[in-house]
């Protein structure tokens, strides 16, 4: 069981997080994957607003299955974060403080996390049914035409995640692998 964190992320909370920490996220998180990121960056290029106030927020890289009637969310596990690497630094520069996904990030994103004081969390890939249980509400707030790739807002309660990259350069993927590697 990890420590409880409430979003948006404050500087104090971010300073406290270290690679390998297990956390339970609470509050609002936003959802965007490939196509929604492309649109957000196009909006920034045109000098337009993002579909949310990015300050202190976290984006979850995810595209859910449709919810059955009566369910808050369908299956909702993370997608591979690396595909969002080319977009992430622009969003961190605008105030994004958290990213949630799975898989390693590029050096440019890791440098961005140190520079802009942002954290990267992993959720368990392939555990979408389990993760859906920590989502109380899921609604499309922009780019509805993208279907499974629409921009969403989630209300989460004790959403389990693990810190992969902290603001000090820590990287659980590298540290974990080194610890268990047998030459």
């Amino acid at each position: 069981m990890g420590k409880r964190i409430t979003l948006p992320l404050t500087e104090d909370v971010i300073q406290d997080l270290k690679a390998g920490d297990e956390v339970l996220l609470n509050g609002t998180i936003y959802v965007a994957r490939d196509s929604a990121h492309k649109r957000m960056i196009e909006a920034l290029d045109k000098g337009q607003e993002l579909p949310f106030d990015v300050q202190g927020q976290a984006i979850y890289y995810m595209g859910p299955t449709p919810a059955r009637p009566g369910q808050a969310s369908g299956s909702a596990g993370p997608t591979t974060s690396g595909r969002m690497d080319s977009y992430a630094p622009r969003l961190m520069a605008k105030g994004l403080k958290g990213m949630i996904g799975k898989g390693s990030r590029s050096q440019a994103v890791k440098d961005g996390m140190k520079k802009y004081k942002a954290v990267y969390f992993a959720a368990i890939g392939g555990a979408g049914a389990l993760i859906s249980k920590s989502i109380n509400k899921s609604e499309v707030v922009a780019y509805d035409d993208l279907g499974a790739e629409a921009f969403r807002r989630l209300e989460v309660e004790d959403f389990p995640a693990t810190v992969i990259n902290d603001i000090y350069g820590g990287d659980l993927y590298e540290e974990g692998k080194a610890k268990y590697r047998i030459e």
């Binding site: 299955t65 369908g74 799975k102 898989g103 390693s104 555990a127 692998k177 268990y180």
Partner: protein, 281 residues
């Protein structure tokens, strides 16, 4: 000649895709449980516990095991004495996919055109269909919803015969190492060796359908599978890449005859959510 109704194909394909997305096969569950017992890393054990808990919730509440309900892959073994009546075979398969994805609240993940017009087809078609004609009058249908994250890590190597067995082993281990945490480890490593470039790619994918952990019937191939598994699990990547013993649950290698100048090798990584079902009509 034996008649097989297209309607029966629709119903079978629909049921198989539905079941595949909610019920993890027994051999996969058993392999994960075994990994849970042996895994040295505490966080790795916790990851496997959550994966097993996820499988229980998915089956009980019929929430998809993974939100990536995949490209709808279909392997057919069509008996040469079978006759499909009452409709087009491939259209029947696509209709089965449509029905399963709609009724199962599964994610529609296909786009019409890969360049700029990446517009969703909204019914998860077209299915990707591979057909073999075989003796007999039956139709065997195997379905495999294949997620994009693992599929994106596939490698093809057109190696030379001089690199030999060691060269093949090194190529496969490097592919798994470079994929790292992306394909959702613990993975199943499907390997095709021999044939031609396109045939060995398909072979690597078919290798994932073998009963999990069952060794190749060829003694040398079985030995290579064992050697690769050990090297892959010495990489330290572990469950979800958090560090640990189980980067892979198994390595399955299939081989084909090949040209005197060639040594084609394909690596297809399957995430731990190894979903597939089959039926014979």
């Amino acid at each position: 000649m034996r008649d097989i109704k297209a309607q029966e194909v629709i119903m079978t394909v629909s049921r198989l895709f539905y079941d595949a997305n909610f019920f993890l096969p027994d051999d996969v569950l058993a392999s994960l449980q075994r990994a849970r017992e042996i895994e040295e890393s505490p966080i790795g054990r916790e990851v496997i516990d959550r994966i097993l808990e996820n499988a229980k919730i998915a089956a009980k509440e019929e929430i998809a095991l993974c939100q990536d309900t995949g490209t709808a892959l279909v392997f057919l073994e069509l008996g040469q004495d079978a006759h499909i009546v009452g409709g087009d075979l491939y259209e029947a398969i696509n209709e089965g996919v449509r029905q399963a994805y709609r009724e199962g609240y599964l994610r529609m993940s296909m786009v019409r055109q890969p360049f700029s017009a990446r517009v969703n087809t909204k019914d998860n078609t077209p299915a990707i269909i591979h057909t073999d004609v075989v003796p007999g009058d039956r139709l065997k249908i195997t379905v495999m919803p294949k997620g994009g994250g693992a599929e994106n890590t596939i490698r093809l190597g057109m190696l030379t015969p001089a690199v030999g067995r060691q060269g093949v082993i090194d190529f496969v281990v490097k592919a798994v190492d470079e994929a790292g945490s992306n394909p959702c480890p613990p993975v199943i490593v499907g390997v095709g060796v021999g044939g031609t470039a396109e045939e060995t790619m398909l072979l690597a994918k078919r290798a994932l359908l073998r009963k999990l952990g069952e060794p190749s019937p060829d003694a040398e191939v079985a030995q290579v599978e064992e050697e690769i598994l050990q090297r892959v699990n010495n990489l330290g990547i572990g469950p979800q890449g958090f560090g640990g013993r189980f980067t892979a649950l198994a390595v399955h290698i299939e081989t084909l005859p090949c040209h005197i100048a060639s040594m084609p090798v394909a690596v297809n990584l399957q995430c731990h959510s190894s979903r597939h079902k089959e039926a014979i009509i």
